[in-house]
């Protein structure tokens, strides 16, 4: 498991490849540390996920990066500049997704975006291209009050993109979307990354973070509990892979004899093997019983997340969140 002490020390000097550098940021509300000494870097062009339970300090940390709040101590550099106090030279280079209520009232989607574009000093066709980016061209003349939840969500994202910023902050961008709309939006977000933009993104959807993010930081109680690529986090978590072989094809004793099998027991019509060297064990199983209908379940980012966040509350994960694949 990657824990706070195992987070590799990062170099904290800003380079051309670094979009955000924060060093030892602290923010206190009353007697509670909302952010308790966080250091991290977001690289240029990176899709960076910020995960953590409610109250972990995500919002405060993001607002410090956006320049909406002042840190009590520590240093923040965004695109080579200080975001606090309000830095009007920096603001046009950043895009911040707002709540999906932050629309100028009694305007059409296009009128709203044209107004936002003008606030940034962006050109007149910026609104149309932002509408196209989020797939709202068909709703351009619909009043913002009449848009569906998902459409409002997309308009809020378009408001963050309309001026072509280098750095985009997204807050739960897929929260109100149905599964298809969510996948559609993933494509929009991947498109932004392909354009070379840096994205800082907070979410509770761990599958989404795993699918989209280059790196994620898991924040617990105002501290970084883990920071790495989703792949490395899952690999280093040491959660075993489970192989499920239809009952009767292989005895538990024979399975335990395979090198690398940690445990073997019958569960719900399957012989379930746990291993940390799944490739080697699958090869052996193939020779002994064949791979037809053998299923593997690998750990996911959600397992890592639940272990990190749950262990602090004394509630470990139960392994129900594995992904399932046919071998």
């Amino acid at each position: 498991m990657t824990d706070a002490t195992a987070v590799p020390a990062e170099r904290h000097e800003a380079t051309e490849q670094t979009t955000i550098v924060i060093e030892e940021i602290r923010k206190r509300y009353g007697d509670r540390d909302a952010v308790a000494g966080v250091s991290l870097q977001v690289r240029r062009g990176e899709f960076f996920g910020l995960l953590g339970p409610n109250g972990a300090g995500k919002t405060t940390l993001v607002e410090i990066m956006e320049g909406l709040r002042e840190a009590d101590s520590g240093k923040v550099t965004v695109l080579g500049q200080q975001p606090w106090p309000r830095n009007v030279a920096l603001l046009p280079r950043m895009g911040v997704q707002t709540q999906s209520s932050a629309f100028f009232v009694r305007q059409t989607a296009r009128e709203h975006l044209t107004t936002v574009a003008a606030l940034f000093g962006a050109g007149h066709d910026a609104a149309d291209s932002a509408l196209a980016d989020v797939g709202l061209t068909g709703q351009r003349d619909v009043m913002v009050e009449n848009l569906s939840g998902g459409q409002r969500q997309r308009l809020a994202i378009a408001s963050a993109l309309v001026h072509g910023p280098e750095l985009i902050f997204l807050d739960e961008p897929t929260a109100a979307l149905d599964p298809q709309a969510r996948r559609d939006l993933w494509e929009v977000l991947r498109g932004l990354k392909r354009q070379g933009r840096t994205i800082v993104y907070t979410t509770h959807h761990l599958d989404e973070a795993e699918a989209l993010c280059d790196r994620v930081a898991i924040l617990v109680d105002g501290r970084i509990a883990a920071l790495d690529s989703p792949h490395n986090l899952v690999s280093s978590a040491g959660v075993p892979t489970r192989l499920m072989i239809p009952e009767g094809r292989l005895s538990p004793e024979d399975a335990l004899a395979i090198e690398g099998v940690d445990s073997a027991e019958l569960q719900g019509g399957s012989l379930v093997l746990e291993t940390r060297v799944s490739g080697q064990v699958l090869t052996a199983v193939d020779k002994l019983a064949g791979l037809n209908d053998v299923q593997t379940r690998t750990a996911t980012l959600e397992d890592v997340y639940l272990e990190l966040t749950g262990s602090l509350a004394g509630t470990g994960q139960d392994g129900d969140n594995d992904t399932e694949q046919q071998a």
Binding site: L68, V88, P92, T98, F103, V105, R106, A118, F120
Partner: protein, 251 residues
């Protein structure tokens, strides 16, 4: 398009697309004018020998213009903050004066349309308002008045977090002030101590100056005094609004 022009355009569209706001801004004060105008049609105020309409028309107009200035900016600020729209604006390079400037121009535009409408109705035969030659001076007076009441609206919009709170605070302020400043009934009907005491109310200064300009109830000195009073209120509430302004409801 500049941020200021875009915000003004969005504000204008929002205003003309909302029938409730249009009614409240234009028709509602007109009801007062018509009702009071017809009740007292052809009657004079005993104390001064002047027709009632020469009191009621400038009074209702001043109150209507002041009310619209207070409510529109107070509601807009509260709503923009509640919906996080102010936060959106805060994250753009647009400066606060451009934001407030667009609201100011909209309020001036509304005020001018209101003034033309109210005076136009009051001039009709059933009401019979007679304009004095000094009537164009009402325009700068209205500008001073709108400016003063806009700063009051900014303070209310910064303090109140809900539409109910805006309505409660603004009505508590504006309705008694209308009666005490002589908007709905001639000041001459009020006891002396109230006539003197109402000097602490900004609407009194607007009423007096508009009355002096439109119906000649007062002279150039009253117009200058009225404008001076409104400037003082603008400075006071402008300073308070700088202290109370918030970009966000979040702590």
């Amino acid at each position: 398009m500049s941020a200021y022009a875009a915000l003004t355009g969005a504000g204008f569209r929002a205003q003309v697309r909302d029938k409730a706001t249009l009614f409240f801004t234009f028709a509602f004060p007109l009801i007062f004018l018509v009702v009071f105008g017809l009740i007292f049609s052809g009657q004079d105020v005993k104390a001064s020998g002047r027709p009632y309409i020469s009191y009621i028309a400038p009074g209702v107009m001043s109150w209507g213009v002041a009310n619209a200035a207070v409510f529109s900016v107070a509601f807009t600020l509260m709503q923009w903050r509640r919906d996080d729209l102010l936060r959106l604006i805060r994250m753009t390079p647009t400066r606060l004066p451009a934001v407030l400037g667009s609201r100011y121009v909209l309020a001036l535009g509304v005020g001018v349309v209101q003034a033309v409408l109210f005076v136009g109705i009051a001039l009709l035969p059933p009401f019979g308002l007679e304009l004095k030659s000094s009537w164009p001076l009402a325009l700068p007076v209205l500008v001073f008045g709108i400016t003063a009441f806009l700063t009051i609206g900014v303070v209310i919009g910064s303090l109140a977090d809900t539409p109910e709170a805006v309505a409660a605070i603004a009505n508590c302020l504006m309705v008694p002030m209308a009666f005490l400043s002589g908007s709905f009934m001639p000041m001459d009907m009020l006891p002396d101590w109230l006539q003197t005491g109402s000097r602490i109310l900004p609407l009194r200064y607007l009423n007096d100056a508009v009355s002096a300009a439109l119906s000649g109830r007062g002279d150039m000195g009253d117009i200058v005094l009225g404008c001076g009073g409104l400037v003082v209120f603008t400075v006071i509430f402008g300073a308070v609004s700088l202290k109370t302004f918030r970009w966000s409801n979040r702590a």
